[in-house]
Symmetry: C2
Subunit: 694 residues, 2 copies
Amino acid sequence: MGQTPDWVKQLKPSGAQGHELLAAERAGSNIPVQQLEELLHTKEVIERKHKLLSILKAEKVFDKSQNYFMGRTDRFERALAREKRLRILKRQHNWNLEEFRQATELIGEPGPYGLHDSMFKVTLEGQGTAEQQEKWLTKANDYKIIGCYAQTELGHGSNVRGLETTATWNSDDKTFTIHSPHLTASKWWIGSLGRTANYAVVMAQLIINGKSYGPTPFCVQIRDLKTHEPLENIHIGDIGPKFGYNTMDNGFLLFNQVKVPHISMLAKYSHVDPKTNKFQRRGSPTLVYGTLTWVRSTIVMQAGSVLARGVTIATRYAAVRRQFQDRDAQAGEAETPVLNYTMVQIRLLPLLAATFALHFTGKSMMDMYQENQKKVQNAGEEAKKSSRGAGPEETNAGSDLLADLHASSCALKSLSSSIAAEGLEVCRRACGGHGYSSFSGIGPWYADYLPTTTWEGDNYMLTQQVARYLLKSARSVLNNEKPTNDTTAILTEFHKRRTIGCAFDIIGSNEDLVAAFAWRVSFLTFEASKHRDEQKKAWNDLLVDFYRLSKAHAQWMVVKNNLSALKKIEAEGKVGKETLDVLMKLFRLFALHTLEQEGSEFYASGACSKLQIQLARTQAVMQLLKDIRPHAVRLVDSWGFDDWVLDSSLGREDGKVYEDMFYRASELNPLNRITVDPYPDSDVLFKRVEKAKL
Amino acid sequence: MGQTPDWVKQLKPSGAQGHELLAAERAGSNIPVQQLEELLHTKEVIERKHKLLSILKAEKVFDKSQNYFMGRTDRFERALAREKRLRILKRQHNWNLEEFRQATELIGEPGPYGLHDSMFKVTLEGQGTAEQQEKWLTKANDYKIIGCYAQTELGHGSNVRGLETTATWNSDDKTFTIHSPHLTASKWWIGSLGRTANYAVVMAQLIINGKSYGPTPFCVQIRDLKTHEPLENIHIGDIGPKFGYNTMDNGFLLFNQVKVPHISMLAKYSHVDPKTNKFQRRGSPTLVYGTLTWVRSTIVMQAGSVLARGVTIATRYAAVRRQFQDRDAQAGEAETPVLNYTMVQIRLLPLLAATFALHFTGKSMMDMYQENQKKVQNAGEEAKKSSRGAGPEETNAGSDLLADLHASSCALKSLSSSIAAEGLEVCRRACGGHGYSSFSGIGPWYADYLPTTTWEGDNYMLTQQVARYLLKSARSVLNNEKPTNDTTAILTEFHKRRTIGCAFDIIGSNEDLVAAFAWRVSFLTFEASKHRDEQKKAWNDLLVDFYRLSKAHAQWMVVKNNLSALKKIEAEGKVGKETLDVLMKLFRLFALHTLEQEGSEFYASGACSKLQIQLARTQAVMQLLKDIRPHAVRLVDSWGFDDWVLDSSLGREDGKVYEDMFYRASELNPLNRITVDPYPDSDVLFKRVEKAKL
């Protein structure tokens, strides 16, 4: 490494330097970056970030310079080393959970302890008895055992009831036999399992005396605590390379008639009485839906910030990168920063707007979750008495709030993670050729994020749950029941006005703009209701409509929450008038751009006229792009990503894009250590490869 | 490897086996796969494929089993070894160019000789004098020298005129000095340069006596032919890892005042007279636009087959993978193959339709290109006399055909590569969780294909050229000029009918369906013309409209070519009535699904009514999905991908999805060779990582 000759080291980029260009961008706007950053993250979190970053950056194990070059095995080993070091630092610095989580987030790579710290411990806490917690949780907290959560199987993803792994009660010796009867029963995709974990919570079909009692969690040792080799009749391994997430050892796991003691079955809510050999329920798990709702709400919250990383990189680079002159430019003018091109603006600025919209929506979801936590807990308790295992939308009225929150979290998880994932790819492509380089920092980040669109509820599957909820809500409105939440309120309003229609001033009024979104989702809900409940169409024939319906519902919630958040910010005077004005423009850009993209639905619903949609596209959106453009760099600055976190040549805060690209390629790239024999006929290299052990 | 215990090896997937499920799918349709495959590829090409595959599969160097596991350096070295071996096989088997190209395609990975065989040699052929060809081309053909084509620079992508590398004529010693004055002048992204090439065609600004004569090609030696080390004052290296394309050594290249002899400047069309020290033009390069048009046409042609790989994998897996029961199903029914879900069908089947539509369109483009080659050559000769360097759309009438073909190739390149790239990602996600595994075969293929959306004309930039052409066509129609091609014909027709409108039966008539696409693009063209030519709007403010316009134009060409191809097939009786019927349904699915997606534009143009668009969506498209569904597996079979080519667990022809996934993870995965120390406090691993040299 480091063989760059001196004459190269002396070279600088031509023309205006990156730092000068970004300085000019920042001088052209008066958005108070720090104030806006505090609004997004709070002062406390920002200060904590700086403190943590200074600790992490000083540790050699967290050095990122080889991240983009390492192969799978090296990356995984390094990720494990980082996980370990982080836990030692936690102890040394006496970090609380918040600090520890933030440090993990700053490192920003999926790590091999991931499932130990989350699902393994959460399940022991939530479903283990005091005795079981004493036995395992204590050790897990001290990392004396490392666990994972083994549910998904090779042949079975989302459908838990289809799991094939069995746990058969042996009444003679009071044990369970865990067994994988088929290849498709192999646990698969299990995070932290492939190389790291020595314990697993295994979801298996409980069988007593030939009768199945459904999926049940067992805590099972899978590897030797000293040699770390798999125990007898257990086959474990890593499932291989993936599109992203390669620092995690997602694994497989098979059991060949493995006997485990009675205590293995997590028994807080159900157990097998060893005396009677009977299954006994002790109530059912509380708040399973509540937990899922919480997890999905965090995904909504994160989506804004995940996307903001890509938008930050692409926006800064678009301000530095110059290409061609505007066709209307005078001869001799310098090349134009690509951020000036409307074709670049129309791709990046609505995404910039989306980062804020998703952030405010996620925040409001978290607030709602916390506010309703108690009510939900009560409702949940009621629900489980009346309807075990059923989705909350089918339980009694007491769980209305939970049901609404649950449906909202499904719809928003689906929409927000799709916006973030697809948005990151748009950002990557907006960087042109250099977007393909790993040094852009977007590609690897995108690949690691992508599974979010599938896990915690596949983004397509989830929309069915939203549709079920909306269909139920429509029925309640048609039955003249009183509105109990926002959703039934807008449906009732629509139903009342269905014969006289609406007249929303979508360009002139923010409230009307939100109302148009409500109108459209209401229209689609009653259409779906007509198809399913009146015309008795097959469920399967309506899945595409349901997907659109859920998307419409989520988009309405995003614009609604975005506007409410801004009104609250205005009322509290948290930012100045000018900043609020730009934030309001971002709201309008997101809303009008979405409306225009979904134009035919808005038009079909009667929420707006053809002319309004055309005006939104050709006038309003284009004007908003112009208005927001000067603030773009300061707006991404306010997300506050440290260069160390971004790890991107293109997104550097100081604009030294080309210097950094070149440094990484010329100084850090290990491929440049090898010298090849380039000729086909001298077969030195060929022989070497052929000899290599595979 | 190979530590899978015997009890695991005996396990089979549960329920109906993959091969049974695919056999049932194939039994449920009577599409004659072989006949359709011959229609797509011709019998000759299919036979050649089988012959080549049997040779390639027998060679150990082409063994793919470690492809998905290898790190960058290993993959690159292996790719180079394959490139070498392929050239030895070519000689051994006396392959002609067609055979050699097909073999390369079957291997299916970007290789380090890529730019040597294409642009390096093409440029020497096209722009070198006889003397220069004698000097370099002969050696290049024998791989005595290995070349690349160095145009793009770190700070300059598409804009060739902005290149910074200089070649200054030294009148005293009759040499050129090649120099990189700035860091941004570094050649960048140059395929085959990073490690492999020892020669480069370098595009540099020619400077004679202080005056610049624009970008000019030079053939320059860059590495020692024996040691393979860079020559003095030349700095070369690989630019580092990328989102895909990592078997290629894209490189950088800098010159520090490097003197090269007079012969280095490729002098077929211009040279520096060493006696007078004057620049002399000898005519200008013929058919530069012709070549670009040809390259873009091949991209259109390939797009169908590129996408078909993903569609094949996803469709077969969707027939094997079962998940949940249909909500309307009776209790106790088996889980449903996900291909039965309309939400899966709406994602996969329009893409299946697109593979055929793009294939037929690409074929017709290639035919047109070849048919017009002579006319174009004449027109090109005329054009260059009148307007050196200008785009063909600005030259005189003689080049009308070329201009139309050029614009079509731009529009179609942009649309088709976007459809293929985005479609592959849709296919990957339609595979659910397993889609993320590299073993799906889609992710790596997608990543390698993705740069196609940026190179040979960025998919966004290209649309400006299409818009320019359409604006010019609109002007000619407004000037009452006679239509000279299809584009001006539809514009003339629209203009004639603009006051009386249209009444297309888009659901009932295929011709009307195509006419609706023509109507919409005509409407958008005259709108653009109004904005630019009448209202004098800024070019930059119209870029978004231009993008839509180009897309509309390309979509019209695809449906038009698709329908013509089917009519021709019908007339020639090449396939039976039933097959033709299914192909026609695929045409209708692609067209109606596209129409519905772009509904608001069709509606705004008056090409169809709101009701028609609604019917297209809720009735016609849904019915087409139902009709095509039973033929899906046979339709993808007819693309004829060999398992060795697909290299996909999910897409196996025999449906042994789970067996193959498991085999690769358990037997081939090198990560499973390492045993880690899982505890944070025993810091063995940590110390090892920290000590590792970076």
